[in-house]
């Protein structure tokens, strides 16, 4: 019992640590003025979120998160930064000049977070008993993906294809006759 | 499965429109012939329906039903009864005449006639749909061709055609927005009562709704349909719209499109929401007086022929409204008769005005004089339309007016007395206008005008015959109407007006 309880407490402590690190990294994404730093913070955030997934018994998703986000997307972003940066590197991520819009942004963010937190607090979540028991998530995902959700799955495939083609055309530019 | 005569009637013009769109734009003769043939086919079919309808049996006949959106209870359901047949017939009479009244159009012929045919289908669809959704769908089908026809082919006088088209369309859409709200409220309430989604009019009519709900929804419908019927003070679109519109559109708009308002008020308003009708009817009756007297007075000061007929049609719709508002068998019979009568009359009037305008490029009463010398046939057409308009016995309009007056008088004494003054005012403005245009010394500047001939005679013959036959043998139409209205009255029980007047 005590080991289980200790285990739980350890898990809690780990979650708090992950949350702090991730949130800090997210703040870094937004507030640091160097776009490259932002990108690196973003990678850190992705990894933090992946850690949360692992904690939530969703190992497969965590892996996907690391591969896709921390791996592919981050690289893409850094490439993009590399392609478009031509200014002083420490001035690459400035806030917008309009003070009014910044204040509006603060208000909206604050209101949204407060209402969401209130909503979360006041919602009676129908928590499942015995949650957290490990199960074959990957197998079920496979069944769902190729069963009930096969159309969505195929559509996602097409979407990716279209995105790739579109991205190539957009980035390459259409040659003028 | 029987031959789907209503669907055929309904979609023959659409087929015509598709054929026309497939033709090259230069083949104007073929385009006009296709339009004429398809409207003639519809006319013949609707005449068949008129004759073949079993008046003893009553109720909806020639019904067709194909399930469509089952989750919403929407069916493609058609059917006609004594109320809708005269209006379907009216639509086709006017549609056929309108094609010939536009025979002289030489620009964008293909667009014109295909839009016109779509318009005819749309109007006809509202009268034969027995499903609320289909009713509304066809109503919306009407709006777009009207707008395009007005701004593409209209004429600008006191107001520009763009203004007229825009005003017309926006009014129609505002009306339809209120209507839609009412319809949705009705649908939702009915589903709450029975648990079954249904848009079927008969089903909706068979339910009992709470009184406050009926009043509210009826008020919405009265506004929506009232706008369509140019109920005072929502009539502002009507004269401007007619003045701006090309002849065929004026004919169809004044002739049948307006009647959708009265038809809907009876078919959906009275039948489904009798309780609301009882409370709101006196309000409608007061506004109807506004139509009758106010618009008739304005006619007296008009110089443009289309404005005269435009305001006069507002005035005549007052009779229809007071007939509906009186809520008894006789008055509603009269209201429907009046809708038919006014339809043919107004269409004939606009056809004649359009013809004259096409040749003389003016519609100002003061510019004319003594035209009966040069154009006796046109003068005959004007005379028939004018005398019908002022309710001369022997013309179908008299039947409508007289019946309305008898019915309305038993409900609203004072209002009816005021409404009857309309017959005097109508006589004044109609006779003055006709007198100034047709009579008086021959004016040499109009010697070059050619009298009606060939295709131009068709509107006069078709509509004039309808006016006279209906007036001389009113029982042919009235028995039919009575079979429909009698059923409504039987279904909703005796109606009485809520207020004391």
């Amino acid at each position: 019992m005590s080991t289980a309880a200790a285990n739980l407490q350890l898990q809690d402590a780990v979650f708090v640590m992950i949350a702090i690190v991730t949130t800090g990294a997210a703040l870094g994404v937004v507030f640091l003025r160097n776009i490259v730093h932002n990108a690196l913070c973003l990678v850190l955030t992705f990894l933090g979120v992946a850690a949360v997934y692992f904690q939530l018994n969703a190992g497969f998703i965590g892996l996907v998160q690391i591969l896709v986000y921390a791996g592919a997307i981050s690289v893409l972003i850094i490439f993009a930064i590399m392609l478009v940066m031509d200014k002083e590197i420490n001035q690459t991520n400035l806030p917008i000049p309009s003070l009014g819009r910044r204040i509006a942004g603060v208000y909206i963010t604050a209101l949204l977070v407060i209402t969401l937190v209130l909503a979360i607090y006041f919602t009676a979540w129908p928590l499942a008993t015995g949650a957290g028991a490990p199960f074959d998530a990957v197998g079920m995902l496979a069944e769902l993906m190729l069963g009930d959700y096969v159309i969505a799955f195929e559509a996602a495939a097409v979407l990716l294809l279209v995105a790739v083609v579109g991205a190539v055309i957009l980035a390459k530019g259409v040659e003028k006759q | 499965m029987e031959f789907p005569v209503l669907s055929t009637t309904l979609f023959v013009p659409v087929i015509g429109a598709i054929l026309i769109m497939a033709l090259p734009a230069k083949k104007t003769g073929a385009i006009k012939n296709i339009a004429a043939v398809s409207t003639l086919a519809s006319l013949v079919l609707s005449l068949l329906v008129f004759i073949a309808y079993d008046r003893q049996q009553g109720s909806m006949q020639f019904t067709e039903m194909i399930p469509w959106v089952q989750d919403l209870g929407v069916n493609y359901a058609l059917g006609v009864d004594g109320i809708s047949i005269p209006l379907v017939l009216l639509t086709n009479l006017i549609g056929f005449s309108a094609v010939f009244a536009s025979w002289k159009i030489e620009e964008r012929v293909r667009e014109f006639f295909s839009l016109l045919l779509l318009l005819i289908t749309g109007v006809m669809g509202t009268f034969i749909a027995t499903d609320l959704f289909i009713f509304f769908l066809f109503y919306e089908v009407v709006v777009i061709p009207i707008y395009l026809l007005v701004i593409m082919f209209g004429s600008s006088k006191r107001v520009t055609k763009e203004y007229a088209g825009m005003k017309l369309t926006i009014y129609l859409l505002i009306g339809s927005a209120f209507l839609l709200t009412g319809l949705i409220a009705l649908f939702v309430k009915a589903r709450a009562i029975t648990g079954v989604p249904s848009m079927d009019l008969v089903h909706l009519a068979s339910l009992d709704y709470p009184l406050t709900f009926e009043i509210m929804v009826f008020a919405f419908m009265a506004f929506g349909f009232g706008t369509l019927l140019s109920m005072f003070p929502f009539h502002a679109w009507s004269p401007d719209g007619y003045a701006g519109a090309p002849t065929a559109v004026s004919m169809i708009h004044a002739g049948v499109l307006k009647k959708i308002g009265g038809y809907g008020l009876i078919r959906i308003g009275l039948l489904v929401l009798p309780g609301g009708a009882r409370i709101i009817a006196p309000v409608i009756a007061v506004l109807a007086l506004g139509n009758v007297v106010y618009a008739a007075y304005i006619c007296l000061s008009q110089k443009d022929l289309k404005y005269i007929v435009g305001y006069s049609s507002v005035s005549h719709m007052g009779y229809v409204l007071i007939g509906i508002a009186a809520l008894n068998l006789i008055s509603i019979n009269g209201a429907i008769m009046m809708m038919f009568a006014h339809g043919v009359m107004a269409a004939l009037f606009f056809a004649m005005i359009g013809n004259l305008y096409e040749k003389s490029h003016t519609r100002n009463v003061d510019d004319f004089g003594g035209l009966a010398h040069q154009m006796p046939r046109l003068a005959a057409g004007f005379m028939i339309a004018g005398l019908a308009s002022l309710g001369l016995p022997g013309m179908v309009n008299f039947i409508g007016e007289f019946t309305i007056f008898v019915g309305a008088f038993s409900t609203y004494k004072v209002f009816t007395i005021i409404a009857v003054t309309g017959i005097v005012l109508t006589a004044v403005y109609i006779l003055r206008a006709l007198g100034y245009v047709l009579f008086g010394p021959r004016k040499p500047e109009w010697d070059h005008l050619q009298d009606l001939k060939g295709p131009e005679m068709v509107p006069l013959m078709v509509l004039g015959t309808a006016i006279l036959l209906g007036g001389i043998f009113p029982f042919t139409i009235m028995d039919l109407i009575n079979s429909g209205v009698g059923e409504i009255i039987a279904q909703i029980g005796t109606l009485y007006v809520g207020g004391v007047l």
Binding site: R101, F122 | S301, P393, F439, D479
Partner: protein
């Protein structure tokens, strides 16, 4: 044969209607064929009518024949097209078909060479059909239908020469004035329908005596009387009739003297049971009639146009008939209607003959001493004038006397005196016309005068015979056979009174004598009188300025109100509409600056929306919790 004609009396109006349809649809290209069709149809109708009359008058009084077909019906409203053949209808049938036939024959000569002959005869046929339908009607619905139809025929025929502004305006005026009367008439009919649930004369006459609510019956009677006031051109709706003389003269003779304008009198006689139930209504009718009689006769004195004099005379005589009905002498009223139809159409046709003979001259002062040139016209005209003046033993004498007798016997002494005065005035203005136009000193136009062709003079002669003899049917010589048949419960049937006969004859003779003294012997100069009473003369010459007053009222009230309301419509109602449009446009104009093209601004709006929705939802949750 007699039975056949009675049961098929519906053919009488139908034949002219068919003639109209035939002319209108097919024959209007051949004028003479059209004329023949029209005359033939009315001729057959006349024969049928005569047969009907013979049969009806051989039945016992009070026996009627009624039949009808369904026309417009629904639960609670039944309007039939029917026929009610009784002595009253039979007399009217004979009068209408007879006069119409003669007038149509006469028109052959009068309208010769007019380009519109075919439509003229078409309208004539339509008029005959409508008038006969009106006469035969067995219910108010039907009578209203034909009432309006004769009105529209009158409109067409007054405006027959539509190239003239005056004809056009007169036609419009006639129709509109009649419409004012019909407004009340229609309301009266509506009242009857609502109160009694039927419009049939027989059913109403059975129901009315049992109905005692005078508060309902009085407005019904007054409203119904509006119709006759308009159609029979009683004061104050008389203004259209003099103007109606713009139509061809035969039309004036048939429609605006003999038949259509008498329809109002006929209606009052037909619905006598309603009016008679309400003494106040009867008094109103009598006073309106008497007033019109005097008023029109006084105007006639000062007119110079031959047709206008006759028109005012018609007004005056119609007033006489109304007065007769109003005092309860229904027989006398109808009797005078009949005799008047003959001698007044005779006078009009004679006037037409003069007008043709004088080449479209209508001013009596420009005629003068045409008697030798136009003997037939002159002598028939004089017979008509004598009949109108009421000189025994011509027809006008008998009927006018009955009216005066009725007024006296019913105790309306004031109206009686008024009647005698009118008789005097009538004789005076008629012989003023005769002496000036036919025997005047002025010889300027005499040479061009010529007698009309036989096709015109023969109808004159026939009518002259009728004008002489028609009065005998209700004379002691024929044992008052007319009054025996044409009567109504409650109508008075006074015994002849020698004093009254003598007195009214003396009044008429003195009128003639005065006219002779002034205009023939010139013992008293007309100019002198004119000078002396210049004010009165002016008022009379200008018809009491009633047209001017109506014109002023029409312009001020109706057209003024129309302009005001149009202004209101354009600027207030349309203004409101345009204001909403302007407001929408303006707010769009203003609000578009919120779209600054910055993607983040849009994001702000979007999330602001999300926040609002969330807060709303949350509030809902809180209220549910509380």
């Amino acid at each position: 044969m007699l039975e056949f004609s009675l049961h098929n009396a519906w053919l009488i109006p139908l034949l002219p209607l068919l003639a109209f349809a035939l002319i209108g649809l097919a024959m209007h290209r051949w004028p003479s064929v059209s004329a023949m069709i029209s005359i033939l149809s009315i001729g057959i109708s006349m024969l049928l009518s005569a047969l009907v009359a013979v049969l009806v008058f051989s039945l016992s009084p009070g026996e009627i024949y009624e039949a009808s077909v369904r026309w417009l019906s629904m639960p609670g409203l039944q309007v039939n097209m029917g026929m009610l053949v009784d002595p009253l209808a039979a007399v009217m049938l004979v009068v209408v078909t007879g006069v119409a036939f003669l007038v149509q024959v006469y028109s052959l000569g009068y309208m010769k060479g007019d380009p519109g002959i075919a439509s003229y005869f078409g309208y004539q046929s339509l008029f005959a059909a409508s008038m006969l339908g009106l006469v035969l009607a067995n219910n108010f619905g039907q009578i209203f239908v034909f009432w309006e139809l004769v009105g529209v025929c009158s409109y067409f025929l007054i405006g027959f020469w539509f190239g003239k502004y005056s004809a056009r305006d007169a036609a419009i005026k006639a129709f509109v004035t009649n419409r004012v009367g019909d407004f009340g008439f229609l309301l009266g009919i509506l009242f009857l329908q609502i109160v009694f649930g039927t419009l049939n004369f027989q059913e109403l006459s059975a129901a009315i005596p049992g109905y005692t609510n005078a508060a309902v019956l009085l407005p019904i009677a007054v409203l119904l009387f509006f119709g006759p006031v308009g159609k029979s051109a009683q004061f104050p709706l008389h203004v259209w009739l003099p103007d109606a003389m713009e139509g061809p003269t035969p039309v004036s003779a048939l429609i605006h003297a003999a038949t259509m304008v008498a329809a109002g009198v006929y209606l009052v006689a037909r619905a006598f049971f309603i009016f008679n139930a309400i003494p106040q209504a009867m008094t109103l009718i009598a006073i309106v009639g008497g007033l019109t009689a005097l008023f029109a006769a006084s105007i006639a004195i000062a007119q110079n146009d031959i047709k206008r004099i006759l028109a005012y005379s018609t007004l005056s005589q119609l007033g006489y008939m109304m007065m007769a009905l109003g005092v309860g002498a229904m027989t006398a009223g109808v009797f005078h209607l009949m005799t008047h139809a003959f001698f007044k159409s005779l006078l009009f046709l004679g006037a037409g003959s003069v007008i043709i003979g004088m080449h479209e001259e209508q001013d009596i002062w420009k005629m003068g001493n045409i008697a030798p040139k136009m003997p037939v016209t002159t002598w028939t005209f004089i017979i008509g004038a004598l009949a109108l003046a009421g000189i025994p033993p011509l027809s006008g004498f008998w009927s006018k006397d009955e009216i005066l007798l009725g007024a006296y016997a019913s105790g309306h002494t004031g109206l009686y005196i008024l009647g005698v005065l009118v008789a005097f005035l009538t004789a005076f203005y008629m012989f003023r016309l005769v002496f000036v136009a036919f025997f005047g000193k002025n010889t300027a136009g005499r040479d061009k005068a010529h007698e009309s062709p036989a096709v015109m003079t023969i109808p004159l002669l026939v009518l002259a015979v009728a004008a002489v003899l028609a009065g005998l049917v209700n004379s002691p010589l024929m044992h008052h056979v007319f009054g025996h048949f044409i009567n109504a419960p409650g109508a008075i049937q006074p015994h002849p009174n020698t004093a009254i006969i003598v007195f009214s004859t003396l009044a008429a003779l003195s009128g003639i004598l005065l006219a002779w003294l002034i205009y023939q012997r010139e013992v008293i100069k007309a100019e002198v009188i004119k000078e002396k009473f210049s004010m009165a003369y002016k008022v009379l010459y200008n018809k009491y300025y009633i047209d001017e007053i109506y014109g002023w009222l029409g312009v001020r009230l109706v057209d003024g109100a129309a302009r005001v309301l149009f202004w209101f419509d354009i600027h207030v109602i349309n203004g409101f509409v345009n204001l909403t449009a302007w407001f929408t446009g303006k707010s769009g104009e203003t609000l578009r600056y919120t779209e600054d093209g910055q993607v983040q601004t849009y994001a702000i709006y979007m999330f602001a929306g999300v926040v609002i929705v969330l807060i709303t939802a949350l509030c809902g949750v809180f209220t549910a919790l509380a």
